[in-house]
């Protein structure tokens, strides 16, 4: 019997038990921030829009955690691999001067095959070190970022808008998407209310589509076999399921989602950050899904959605409210504190929900 399951009383108690105290506390905290905000001169409409834009921006990166968690590979700390694929897709599409939704679509089309290849290689690494997947993932992520830092300088990109002005070779650290496909999803069917409120409909539709696809995948024969590998690899093997193959498929799907998530992130953010940019990008995504109630051996789509909203809400609101009150810029410090604190919390609860 776990402590958290103790005595659910009536409907409220049951709801609390299902939703989990950590999430309720953070949701209340977030609500509190929204209540305080107007009193220190922060516009609710702007804050809300900021939050929604960030949810649309980050949602798919968080979703990229699900397949690997479900197959028992733990949290995908190797997310930078998918992100790199997304970056290559994006800059290659821009190199051709492809614009608008077409440019965005081509970026995805170029990124996905690369993500599949990288995912298969990553999958082999993961299978070599069963039990230490998260450690492997972290270092695979770090290594690819360092390797690509060299490659960005060497790859034969020529478009003057992408490369360093003075030398004519090597990609810039920050590339603006302005004039290419900046905010093509955010602005698609966007809803504007008043001067400040903005709802990025396109990004949400796209996020929802990806969620439905992942959800549907886990209802298929392969998806169910994958979940079985995650909950009991011995069982899966005894019933003729190839454990290694399922794990590689899950890593490939996670990496592809990482690549797609990155392209969506870029269109919303408006910039592409190369070199050390992707180094720590796995951590906020990991923190978000854990905040949403996932553990390192089980995750659902609702964990993704709830976690992304709460995490991005906290990230948007805490710095602006605290900056408003303290008159100093605390944004980065708080972001690091919240995301790493969340990861630490989740990893210490590692055993929860696992059979003995």
């Amino acid at each position: 019997m776990k402590n958290e399951d103790r005595k659910p009383k009536g409907r409220v108690g049951e709801f609390i038990a299902n939703f989990g105290w950590p999430r309720i506390i953070i949701a209340i905290f977030l609500l509190l921030l929204f209540v305080i905000a107007p009193f220190i001169g922060i516009d609710i409409g702007t804050s809300l829009s900021d939050m929604l834009v960030r949810v649309g921006m980050n949602g798919i990166l968080v979703l990229a955690m699900v397949p690997m968690i479900q197959s028992g590979c733990g949290l995908n700390f190797g997310l930078p691999l998918g992100i790199i694929a997304g970056l290559v897709g994006a800059v290659t599409s821009m190199e051709q001067n492809w614009q608008g939704l077409f440019g965005f679509g081509m970026a995805l089309l170029l990124a996905i095959p690369l993500a599949v290849v990288l995912g298969i290689i990553y999958g082999y690494f993961i299978n070599m070190a069963k039990g230490d997947e998260m450690m492997i993932g972290t270092y695979v992520g770090f290594s690819i970022v360092a390797f690509m830092s060299m490659m960005w300088l060497r790859l034969p990109y020529k478009n003057p808008l992408l490369v360093w002005g003075f030398s004519g070779t090597g990609l810039r650290t920050t590339i603006s998407l302005n004039g290419f496909w900046m905010k093509v999803l955010d602005n698609f069917l966007a809803i504007r209310i008043g001067a400040h409120f903005f709802f990025p409909t396109g990004s949400f539709i796209f996020f929802a589509l990806c969620c439905v696809l992942v959800w549907a995948f886990f209802k298929t024969k392969t998806g169910i076999a994958m979940s079985a590998v995650g909950s009991n690899p011995q069982f899966a093997r005894a019933h003729g399921v190839s454990v290694d193959r399922m794990r590689i498929i899950s890593v490939v799907i996670s990496t592809v989602l990482g690549a797609v998530g990155m392209v969506v992130y870029e269109q919303s953010y408006g910039f592409i950050q190369l070199y050390m940019g992707p180094l720590y990008m796995a951590f906020p995504a990991v923190a978000a899904i854990l905040l949403g109630g996932a553990t390192i051996n089980s995750a659902t789509i609702s964990n993704v959605v709830i976690g992304t909203f709460l995490f991005q809400g906290i990230l948007t609101m805490t710095p602006s409210v605290i900056n408003g009150m303290l008159k100093t810029d605390m944004a980065e410090v708080i972001r690091i504190l919240v995301s790493n604190g969340m990861i630490l919390y989740a990893l210490t609860r590692k055993g929860k929900g696992m059979p003995k």
Binding site: A238, H239, G240, G353
Partner: protein
């Protein structure tokens, strides 16, 4: 009772898990040198009662207990196992409490090592005394000899077969100098008959020295054989407390389940299937740790129930595991004239075979998933059943069909649960085993390997599992190969029984053959 005053006395013990009352008003006395048999179905509260006595942390964490425990006339209240150990209570657990990477000696002497003086003690204190390994090994050799088994004191626990682990654990408990009470929780469940006999002898010897013993077991013959008094628990209540002389297997069994149970004897089948072989195993070699198969040749006839018996560690479990591809196997297996690809579970299933694993929790079940998924999984993955196409694109699980089939098997096998969506981990051992059986029934296999299908489950579930096996054999013509360490069980259900000794088939006898013949084969004579 030797001197009127009991050694241990438990009064009015009551324990709740959440809103669930698992023990109610239990009163129990144990005299010096007495062996008390504690019996009850799985979930009757035996283990919980012993956990309370032993001060296991799980009791405190779930809200403690009510009632008093008196040891040697003094009221005690153990809050952790260490206190209980200090007070002279030893416990041999159902799940082994041993360190896998330590040797037998190290485990037995853990935290009470024989030590020698070294000069470092002057500086750093008593904890820096050095270990006297020679003395410890010598003591262990003696202990092991007392137990009547042959364990090398330097063997790592992780490399021992289960029965050796059990003996190591027992050796550790009986070596405590001032042990007053020894609790043994199903010690013989993993032992073969000869090993169990050796253990019972040791327990008798201990009792003669004045140690009070609480003996928990599902094997009623043993209980009757060794115990002075028998206490029967049912649904958390104490049903009977009688001297063993005044009871017999039948009455104990009926007290346990609360109604009369018929004998476990099935009617022998008319005619024993076709004579020619259906499944033919030639020179099978299986690398299964602790149960290695060296060279097995076995012919199975269509429609028969073939039993595989033998002592623990001789390789009887390896045969099914090897044919089904769970452990690396070499040799040739032919099914209905067609050669089977070894080391591939999927090919084994596709050829029409199915397997009930002896490792229920480790291999047999997805503990964290629903009953429905557990039952549907093999059918879905192996035969592509229970799936539906959506818009011609996706192949999806057919939730309606899964629910139907699950409900059907819940009814047929009388699985006690809240519904198809309940998580398997929450079920009792017997009901978990029924899920394993349902899982293979759903496949309607031609050949079913059932390894220890009744191990560690209560009498009611046992009967049900065996009847279902018999039923599918008779009505659907399923050929069954059942492996069990209980010879009596094999004799009650099988047509023929093969005895495995030292990784080879020592002989195949009809089930009606006299017990002594089987015994001789087991001993390899």
């Amino acid at each position: 009772m030797t001197n009127g005053k009991p050694l241990l006395s438990m009064k009015g013990i009551q324990k709740d898990f959440l809103e669930n009352r698992v023990l109610e008003d239990i009163n129990l006395d144990l005299a010096q040198g007495e062996i008390l048999g504690l019996v009850g179905e799985n979930g009757a509260g035996k283990t919980t009662l012993m956990n309370i006595l032993f001060g296991m942390p799980v009791i405190q964490q779930t809200g403690g207990y009510k009632g008093t425990i008196t040891l040697d006339g003094e009221e005690v209240h153990f809050s952790n196992p260490n206190d209980a150990l200090m007070a002279g209570i030893g416990m041999v657990h159902q799940e082994f409490f041993l360190i896998p990477d330590f040797s037998a000696t190290e485990n037995i002497f853990l935290n009470r090592e024989v030590t020698r003086y070294s000069f470092l003690v002057e500086i750093f204190g008593e904890r820096l005394r050095t270990l006297d390994r020679a003395a410890m090994n010598e003591r262990v050799v003696q202990l092991i000899k007392e137990l009547g088994v042959d364990i090398n004191p330097d063997t790592l626990v992780s490399e021992m077969p289960v029965s050796y682990k059990q003996f190591t654990e027992i050796a550790r408990e009986i070596d405590r100098a001032k042990i007053k009470i020894l609790v043994v929780d199903e010690p013989t469940a993993v032992l073969t008959e000869t090993e169990a006999e050796a253990l019972l002898t040791v327990l008798r010897r201990l009792a003669a020295k004045g140690v009070g013993i609480i003996f928990i077991s599902h094997r009623l013959h043993e209980i009757l054989d060794i115990c002075d008094r028998i206490v029967v628990l049912r649904d958390g209540k104490l049903i009977r407390d009688v001297p063993s002389r005044q009871s017999d297997v039948k009455s104990i069994a009926s007290w346990m389940v609360g109604h009369d149970v018929g004998d476990f004897v099935f009617q022998p089948k008319q005619g024993c299937g076709e004579k020619e072989s259906f499944l033919s195993i030639e020179h099978l070699k299986v690398l299964m740790p602790g149960e290695a198969v060296k060279d097995v040749c076995l012919q199975v006839r269509k429609g028969e129930i073939l039993g595989i018996g033998g002592l623990a560690g001789q390789g009887k479990l390896g045969i099914a595991n090897g044919v089904m591809g769970l452990f690396h196997a070499e040799g040739s297996v032919t099914l209905g004239g067609k050669s089977l690809k070894l080391n591939s579970p999927l090919d084994a299933f596709r050829a029409g075979m199915a397997f009930i694993s002896e490792d229920r929790r480790g291999i047999g079940l997805l503990l964290t998933q629903s009953i429905g998924l557990n039952i549907a999984f093999p059918l879905m993955q192996v035969k592509g059943g229970l799936l539906k196409k959506i818009a011609g694109l996706f192949t999806w699980e057919d939730e309606k069909k899964i629910r139907e089939i699950t409900t059907k098997y819940i009814e047929r096998l009388d699985i006690k649960c809240t519904g198809p969506d309940q998580v398997v981990m929450e079920l009792s051992g017997g009901n978990q085993q029924k899920v394993c059986v349902a899982k293979v029934l759903a496949l309607s296999p031609q050949i079913l390997f059932a390894s220890e299908p009744t191990r560690g489950i209560d009498i009611g579930a046992k009967h049900l599992v065996l009847s279902v096996l018999k039923e599918i054999n008779e009505q659907e013509g399923t050929t069954i190969i059942m492996t069990s360490s209980e010879l009596g069980e094999l004799r009650s259900i099988c047509d023929r029984i093969a005895i495995v000794s030292e990784g080879k088939v020592a002989g195949v006898l009809p089930a009606e053959a006299p017990v002594e013949d089987f015994g001789l084969l087991m001993l390899g004579e």
